[in-house]
């Protein structure tokens, strides 16, 4: 980077924790935003070189191309189990999983719930876009009642498919969890809060306090059949009422962290 004049202050730059590769994410997809937030936090905590990431199966399966750090790629839903194996043999490393709602809230519920219950010293970034992005827009456990997807063509009918799964509320009931929160990447204030939540979650891990998870309400304009702007609005109007924002569990020690 070229030197900046002494009279100027550097206020924004490319995070070291990201590679310079162009992502494959669709225009308006918030996966890229959330990657950046994680990267900024890891930079800020100065732990890039101590971090091992676990990628899911889903649109972010190639997250390891974009994060500039050691990474492994898990079977669908099993990231928390892999992260458990990694962290237990590397207690001094920072280990995180990055998972979508199909990955975490459907096929991987067993792994996430038990990793949380054991209080694994890992952090999970949970991207909730109310749909299966990668496989072409099928219904996810988080799909809203009435929401049309390729596998709920008449809209999700709770009598057939049940109601959306609320992961942050489930996490709130688990003693091993020290921090569970639901945030959004749908506008600037939301993004700023998400960044802070991610930082708190990684700090909780750094301090060895317990399992931490940040759910981020996200968009999938492609499979929602909306343009990027309309997708943001749709998510704010429909997802937030179903998935209320805010912390669902904060231990006293986590609350005391200076973020």
């Amino acid at each position: 980077m070229s030197a900046i004049p002494e009279t100027m202050e550097l206020v924004f730059q490319y995070p070291e924790s990201l590679t310079k590769k162009n992502t494959h994410y669709c225009p308006g997809c918030t996966h890229g935003v959330i990657h950046r937030l994680v990267a900024e936090v890891l930079d800020e905590l100065g732990v890039r070189g101590q971090t091992i990431g676990v990628a899911p199966v889903g649109c972010s399966v190639l997250a390891y191309y974009y994060f500039n750090m050691d990474f492994v790629e898990a079977p669908h839903g099993r990231a928390p189990a892999m992260a458990t194996g990694i962290k237990r043999v590397n207690p001094d490393k920072i280990v995180f999983t990055y998972q979508g709602d199909g990955d975490l809230a459907a096929i991987g519920t067993n792994e996430i719930i038990h990793a949380a219950h054991r209080g694994e010293l890992i952090t999970t970034i949970f991207v909730n876009n109310a749909i299966y992005g990668m496989t072409g827009g099928q219904m996810a456990p988080t799909t809203l009642p009435g929401q049309k997807t390729t596998s709920s063509p008449f809209g999700r009918d709770p009598r057939i498919a049940g109601m959306p799964v609320h992961i942050s509320e489930i996490m709130a009931a688990i003693p091993g969890v020290v921090y569970a929160t639901r945030q959004s990447a749908l506008d600037l204030p939301g993004i700023n809060k998400t960044r802070k939540a991610i930082k708190r979650a990684f700090m909780a891990q750094q301090q060895g306090l317990g399992f931490s998870i940040v759910e981020v309400l996200s968009t999938c304009p492609t499979n929602w059949n909306l343009d990027p702007w309309a997708a943001m609005q749709w998510a704010k109007e429909n997802m937030i009422p179903q998935f209320p924002l805010g912390d669902t569990r904060v231990s006293d020690e986590v609350a005391a962290l200076k973020v």
């Binding site: 992260a83 194996g85 043999v89 490393k93 067993n110 719930i113």
Partner: protein, 347 residues
């Protein structure tokens, strides 16, 4: 070290510790639970990692995670658990990381029962998960051999960055006999360069089984096949007994191989020229040596605790040179030496 009276399951668990096992992840299932119980106590005593996982899916993926860090790691299970693990086994194979899995086979299909069986031969040797790969499959026939094979399994897994299975069965896990454990090896084993360990002063290490381009994935598969070809060249193991003048050749592995040793001895006493061929690696299979022996014996008899699985590999190996007969018992029944001897006499 002196010989001790040891139970199969506890023996391989303790051997694993002595050979440097750093992290064990498992889920209880008969007939291997004594191994998990032994490790639950001993791993903690040794300040190493033990987790009773939420399922075999959890266990194998924890093994996968630890394997990506290059440590000596393993799990143990039996048929129903092995079925669940196949997802993880395929990923382990697809990403070239070393791991060891012990399968103490029991009667199937379904829940079956908890008696000894060899009915997972196809599962382990031919289809340990989706995609094109073979694990190395070791087949011990005694408590001593399972102890020795534990060390071999870790060495081979690391040498080839591959999956190694130990194909035991319920009787091997439950039997007690005198055997010698190895001394405690230096611990921990140094971690290999390729592992994930935090990218300080180097490019990031990525461990994945994914390659979206067909050309890339074909290359990855060809590399995997080249590795398997190396294994086939160097790691075939078997034991032969009285094959020099044999007219009838028994072919059997594991517990059945051991029973066939008694069959052979009794047959010899009765003046029958019977020999025994006992594969110690089920993959790679000792086909070339069997083919040579086919030029010398009159007939072969494969004995297994299943409906006829390994016998297919014996037939492939001898390529029609001699008739290959089969004798098997199912459902967890261990064949008696007399039954097999009666079959020999019919040939």
């Amino acid at each position: 070290m002196a010989k001790e009276l040891l139970k199969g399951n506890e023996a391989f668990a303790e051997a694993a510790i002595r050979y440097g096992l750093e992290a064990y992840f498992g889920y209880p299932i008969t007939p291997q639970s004594e191994a998990l119980e032994h490790l639950a106590r001993r791993m903690l005593e040794e300040n190493r990692v033990f987790i009773q996982a939420e399922s075999e899916l959890g266990a194998i993926n924890m093994v996968y995670g630890a394997a990506c860090c290059g440590v000596r790691t393993m799990t143990s299970t039996s048929g129903p658990g092995f079925s669940l693990m196949e997802e993880g086994l395929s990923y382990i194979a697809g990403s070239d990381v070393p791991a060891v899995v012990v399968n103490m086979q029991r009667g199937g299909p379904g829940l079956g029962n908890i008696q000894p069986s060899q009915s997972d031969y196809f599962l382990m040797v031919k289809s340990a998960g989706h995609g094109d790969f073979h694990p190395i499959v070791l087949a011990p026939a005694s408590v001593q051999e399972i102890i020795d094979m534990m060390g071999l399994a870790f060495d081979l897994a690391e040498k080839y960055r591959t999956l190694v299975l130990i194909a035991g069965d319920g009787s091997l896990g439950q039997m007690m006999e005198s055997a010698e454990l190895p001394p405690m090896q230096p611990f921990p084993y140094p971690r290999p360069e390729w592992a994930v360990s935090g990218a300080v002063g180097r490019e990031p290490h990525i461990i994945t089984s994914l390659d979206l381009s067909p050309e890339g994935l074909e290359r990855m598969n060809l590399n995997l096949q080249a590795k398997l070809a190396e294994i086939q060249k160097h790691e075939i193991r078997w034991k032969e007994y009285e094959t020099e003048d044999a007219e009838v050749l028994l072919v059997a592995y594991g517990t059945t191989g051991r029973i066939c040793l008694s069959v052979m001895r009794e047959a010899r006493k009765q003046g029958l020229k019977v020999g025994l061929f006992r594969p110690q690696t089920l993959w790679p299979f000792p086909s070339a040596r069997l083919n040579e022996l086919a030029g010398q014996v009159r007939v072969m008899l494969a004995a297994e605790m299943n409906a006829g699985q390994m016998v297919e590999d014996v037939r492939l190996a001898v390529a029609g040179k001699v008739p290959v007969h089969f004798y098997g018992r199912l459902g967890g029944i261990v064949p008696l030496a007399d039954e097999i001897l009666a079959e020999v006499k019919k040939l």
